[in-house]
Amino acid sequence: MSEPLVTLSGVTKTYAGITALSEVGFSIAAGEAVCLAGENGSGKSTLNKILAGVERPDRGTIAFSGQVQGPLSPRASTEAGIKVIFQDFSLFPNLTVAENIAFSAELGEGVRLVRRAKMRDLARATLDRIGVDIPLDAAGETLSVAHKQLVAIARALATEARLIIMDEPTTALTEREVRGLLTIIRRLKADGVAVLFVSHKLAEVLEVCEQVVVLRNGQKVAEGPAQDFDAASLTRHMTGRDVAAEPPAPLRADAPVLLQVQGLSKAGAFDQVDFTLRAGEVLGISGLLGSGRTALAKALFGLVAPETGTITLDGRQVTRGDPVAAAAAGIGYVPEDRLTEGLFLTQSIVQNIAIGRLDSHARAGGVLNLTGLLAEARDWLARLKVKAPNPDAPVRSLSGGNQQRVVLARWMARSPRVLVLNGPSVGVDVGSKAEIHGIIAELAAHGLGVIVISDDLPELLSTCHRILVMKGGRMVEDIAGGSLNETELAHRLAS
């Protein structure tokens, strides 16, 4: 029996007193898909960086085909055939698809002149290998997220790849795109390429991998064939406790209509969208690629300007296409990407919360009532149980789940009537996810209307009273929550 492709043994890494990894060891065989599962902070990214040669372990060994390696560098790691695909794909927006795929390979060969034909051939060959057709001359920035990922995978294959590490590859993809990715992973495996799939989206983990390794707090807590695990046991290992998905408390029959959307249309995004939202209701909106659900969510908050249609809140029309007007009318929006869209990373935690309330605390001449403003922000920190020992520290010092709570606090401080949450628990660990769902239920209990845009089927089922399905820009289904299970919901979405 030949040696496994990569074997880690006793890998330990500490950063400034914090143990990121402790005595972690497992192996990956050629053509095998291994899933590395764990919450944020479990040590997954550190392990990736060590395998990629970007970081060195303090203790422990890494062996390739049985040969223990000296200290790894990014170059040594790449030459050994280890390719890491980071979450942002590391593409060049201004270069063509062909150049993006072949650049690294050409660099590696040390050529000085551009070999245009060779690059195109190489690009075409790798795209064929994964069974994908993307125009070679398209500029990187014009590609969809799914296509960018495919180009990133093609690039990894352009030079000899024996292990491809994918860091949270499905975060930005829809259901159908995920299916496509899993097919590609199967092809890679058949080709003898090993895959390390780092994720905390549980369903995919089990479907595509032979082996599962679970990290928690830097230690390996479980390892074994994928068929030995299911969603519940994985969650238990990752969080250390059971997290059950329960449907939400039923809505009061006499709840008044809060938000009415009629005939909302925007060319190329969505068409004739109608729905109502009642006070205390949690409405889910989901759909596949091109369904228009994100554009719709943004349109509700004015980030996108619809051409026709009306949005009425409490009987009053909300001006379209203007976030300031939407916020003033009582609509709030928690964005998908909190790091770039939601937070001011260098500013303090309280400032991040208080930014929505500046005008409310302004006295004559625009002068702020600073004490009132900051006290209110600190109050919200406590109410949402944000773990922040120093509220004046920059918000980037918080964990992902706490950061999401800061964004929530900002909007809740404005006492909105409707809160739109776009992917509320994307990139958030399982434990925090449950707590955020608790906050959603609380908001609804206080009479707010909540709209949840999500791809995460368990999330939709456990938080929403109704789920609207969008397809091709139109609203095609209105499903009562609790009437379906996950498999059925997936079918309805895909059909």
């Binding site: 927006p93 201004n94 270069l95 690294s104 660099l107 590696g108 551009v114 996108v304």
Partner: protein, 328 residues
């Protein structure tokens, strides 16, 4: 031929055509060899500067010190050759200029690539340092007697001719240098991996590092290359003007960058073509030299250039904004 209306190059080319049309209507003698050689002359030094500025913009930076490098180089070259090597032939002056420019560019390169300091600020600082150093320690007086090499170069004409009315026109030999610079830079950017790496760095510095591009090495190279071009431009300027005035050239930087941006290069980096840059320079030169023909007094020159810059960059910006709003 498919015309892409959304590209800057197309718009600028159209404005140039319209301008020439209007000028020709105002004054039929506008369309003559004399006008053409005048315009080409105006573009010689500006063209070299613009190519240099474009290179830096593509890599994602901004350099405002190149005019100071040019002034420093031309003054030092004139002084040194006069004092130490008056026997050198014309090409030695150019070579010397390129060497001095390279040295100054290397200082920029060291600060930007070596220390990782932001490009705009560093080059603002080195602009002051180079200029200040020259005026304090090297000299403030114009050098009216240039070394023989520079004088010889200043007399080299590509084309000479006489107009119908007895006046003369000519095109200086330095035009060849500008053409060579453009061709060489085109080759660098489109046909060498180094050039593609420059675009890559401008597109995403982080991705460039991850695939193993030696970002610091490439950046150092860029600033040295820019220094060489600036030095060259400085020596050419002095040779053509028959005098080395240390107060010349500085002040043009922003207009050069504006010309390059007009031609399609983006301040954010990653984009820029030689065609566009040439067109941008052509437009600026056209406006500077030919407003009179359209009946606009010289005192309104600044306003015209300012308006052109605003229109030329404002239209694409507004289009981009509308496209972004439509895209959702």
């Amino acid at each position: 031929m498919k015309i892409d209306w959304t590209r800057n190059e197309t718009l600028v080319a159209l404005v140039i055509l319209a301008f020439c049309l209007l000028a020709a209507l105002s004054d039929p003698s506008f369309l003559s060899i004399a006008t053409l050689t005048d315009l080409l002359r105006g573009g010689i030094v500006l063209g070299i500067f613009a190519v240099a500025a474009m290179l830096v913009l593509i890599s994602g930076g901004i350099d405002v010190s190149f005019t100071a490098i040019a002034a420093f180089t031309m003054y030092v070259t004139a002084m040194t050759l006069n004092a130490l090597m008056p026997w050198m032939p014309w090409w030695a002056a150019l070579g010397f200029g390129m060497a001095v420019g390279a040295g100054l560019g290397a200082i920029n390169g060291l600060l930007i690539a070596g220390f990782g300091l932001p490009t705009l600020i560093v080059t603002l600082g080195t602009l002051s340092i180079f200029r200040g150093f020259m005026l304090t320690f090297i000299g403030q007086k114009q050098i009216t007697t240039l070394p023989p090499s520079m004088r010889e170069f200043g007399r080299m004409m590509l084309i000479r001719g006489e107009n119908a009315d007895g006046s003369f026109y000519n095109l200086h030999g330095a035009f060849v240098v500008t053409v060579l610079v453009v061709v060489l830079t085109w080759f660098l950017l489109q046909r060498t991996m180094l050039g593609r790496q420059i675009y890559a760095i401008g597109g995403s510095v982080e991705s460039a590092r991850r695939i193993g591009i030696n970002v610091r090495g490439v950046q150092f190279f860029i600033y040295v290359y820019v220094g060489v071009l600036a030095g060259l431009a400085g020596v050419i300027h002095a040779s053509m003007a028959r005098v080395a005035n240390p107060f010349d050239l500085v002040g043009l930087e922003l207009s050069v960058i504006a010309a390059v941006v007009l031609g399609g290069a983006r301040l954010a980096g990653g984009h820029g073509t030689l065609t566009g840059t040439i067109l941008g320079v052509a437009l600026i030169v056209l406006v500077r030299n030919s407003l009179i023909v359209l009946g606009i007094p010289a005192t309104w020159q600044s306003v015209t250039i300012g308006l052109l810059i605003l229109l030329g960059t404002g239209l694409p910006a507004w289009q981009a904004k509308r496209a972004a709003a439509r895209a959702a």
